[in-house]
Amino acid sequence: MSSKSPRRSIGDLSEGTLGLLMLLPAILLLCLIVVYPVGRLMYISLFDWRMSLPNAVPAFVGLEHYIYALTDDPKFWDAVYNTVLITIITVPGALVVGLGLALVANLPFKHRWPTRLALLLPWALPLVFAGLIFRWFFNYDYGLVNDILQRLGFGKVLWGTDPNLAFFTICLVIIWKSSSFMAMILLAGLQTIPRNLYEAAKVDGATSWQCFWKITLPMLIPSMVVALVFRTITAIQTFDIPYAMTGGGPGGTTETLAMYIHKTTIDFLDFGYGSALAMLMFLVSLGATTIYLRIIQGDKE
């Protein structure tokens, strides 16, 4: 068959060139939407730039904002404390709950869509409204939770007044919301576990419980790590749910770092300090991800 020597096209470029071309849209978009704004933010963070000062002329202050935040700002450390606490409670919490959900959803139901829908719906519910709906549930007078408690003969509980309870409800809601995505990824992981592993184990006389510990869990580790990375990043950025549920109360005990940044930048118009706080938060996320990536890579070797 005689070839009519096909036109050279973009698809025939060398791998390196083609690779760069293919990465280009992503890189350009990232530069436009993230890198450039982050660069600006980093720049601003070195200035005392407060819109609230009359005729503000940004003055260069170097790392002063960072130093102030790290050494002198109790609100920063409170917010960091709350954020870290939320992260270390809700990330493992969501993992455990998500695993439970995934295990159940993986059971052989006749109709699978009700469990699957239930699994995914919390994830699909907009964050803002999830917060508002749960604020309603935990409302002292008209809330579902207190109503049920009363019907069961317990008294009504001041969910939003006691700082510990308020913190608890926020964590509960975050776990509820985020276990959904977690479960989705874990369910996918569960389904990749080869069936013959279980059969082999059963031949060896393993109980279901042992199967779970010796096969299911170890095989799920890769999925878990992926889920944990994304979950941790979003946990560090927790904003909507406490913002909608408690607004940071009572007495600022549920204010997260993202809320503090938002408040500083948008409410107080202190762009310099707000930018510095945002940079610090970015560094925290970066640290967390680096640790995870290390774990993943260590795993591979």
Binding site: M1, S2, S3, S5, P6, G11
Partner: protein
């Protein structure tokens, strides 16, 4: 149409060279087999012909036209992959017609050519199945069918039989040979299996470490290996090697035993006292009476049915002989063994090159 010229072809990944200047002319209609151990560069060379790997230096021409910068689709070649690489989402029919469709061949013609190829390969009843519904052998046929329908200048086979079980392998091997006789097209076939190479090839190209060790028809490769490596790669079991020293009349082994060299088989150009590697194939180790006989302890027997292999000690070394079962020595005994000194080979101890240009 269908000749392939490979001239001074070099391939390196970064600073690591993997093909060191290979020269090869493949004639139209020839069945050439690249053989060699894994990592020898045979697949890389094949993929460079296909255009799947870039060429670092030198040039490759198909039908006289340099294709270095042509993408695979412009080279008019077809390839059968080790894992068949059938498109899982397409039916057998679509798999086979895929290339023709991309080239804008009219549908009726595609249908006709796919039908022809399927009949040749006896897979016409499978045309509407998906690859996952086929057995390994069937997939292999579909992969060949996909190559055939294209009627390319050159067929490239990349270890296409290695995923088949032994029985199927020899069956398909025969079919490929028949197919070649039928199509009369140029085929370049990569394998690490010397039996495949021997049975299929018009010419065998033995590669080692990115070099061609020897090119030649199977009997030349077998009977006149150019290197110790080629000699050790062909035949089953492979040629026996024993380090030795050359004297005027004898070949003396490390344990002091020696064999007389017949006059007509005296090595040329090698001074007495040269250190060489003596090579002899197992079938030339026998119990027939002859001039060259050695006493060797028998360590182990491997009966194969038609033959029996005996492992024999020469000092610290061991060689294998192939015997008619009734004449096989018994393990434990020290047997008197004849070496057919018309068939021995000598190799350079340092480079493994055949030396002494023996008359044959």
């Amino acid at each position: 149409m269908g000749s392939v010229s490979i001239r001074k072809v070099v391939k390196s990944y970064g600073a690591v060279p993997v093909i060191h200047g290979v020269d090869l002319e493949i004639r139209e209609g020839e069945f050439v087999v690249f053989v060699g151990p894994s990592g020898c560069g045979k697949s890389t060379l094949l993929r460079m012909i296909a255009g799947l790997e870039t060429i670092t230096g030198g040039e490759i021409a198909i039908d006289g036209k340099v294709v270095n910068d042509l993408p695979p689709r412009a080279r008019d070649i077809a390839m059968v992959f080790q894992d068949y690489a059938l498109y899982p989402h397409l039916s057998v029919r679509e798999n086979m017609g895929f290339g023709l469709k991309l080239r804008g061949t009219p549908a009726p013609e595609i249908e006709a050519r796919v039908g022809d190829a399927a009949r040749i390969l006896k897979i016409d009843h499978l045309l509407d199945r998906k690859p996952r519904q086929l057995s390994g052998g069937q997939r292999q046929r579909v992969a060949m069918g996909r190559a055939i329908v294209r009627k390319p200048k050159v067929f490239l086979f990349d270890e296409p039989l290695s995923n088949l079980d032994a029985l199927l392998r020899s069956e398909v091997r025969t079919e490929i040979k028949k197919l070649h006789q039928h199509l009369k097209s140029t085929i370049i076939f990569v394998t690490h299996d010397q039996v495949e190479a021997m049975t299929l090839a018009d010419r065998i190209v033995v590669l080692k470490g990115g070099h061609i060790d020897q090119v030649g028809p199977p009997d030349t490769i077998y009977n006149a290996p150019a290197t110790q490596f080629v000699a050790g790669f062909t035949g089953s079991p492979p040629m026996n090697f024993l380090p030795a020293e050359l004297t005027d009349t004898h070949i003396r082994f490390e344990n002091g035993q020696s064999l007389a060299i017949p006059d007509q088989r005296r090595p040329r150009g090698l001074p007495s006292g040269s250190r060489v590697v003596f090579g002899i194939r197992p079938e030339h180790v026998s119990r027939a009476d002859g001039a060259a006989q050695l006493d060797m302890p028998v360590t182990l027997l491997e009966p194969l049915g038609s033959d029996t292999l005996a492992f024999l000690s020469v000092g610290e070394r061991e060689i294998v002989g192939r015997f008619v079962p009734e004449l096989a020595p018994r393990p434990g005994e020290t047997a008197r063994i004849s070496i057919d000194m018309r068939k021995y080979h000598l190799f350079d101890q340092d480079h493994g090159r055949a030396v002494g240009s023996l008359d044959g």
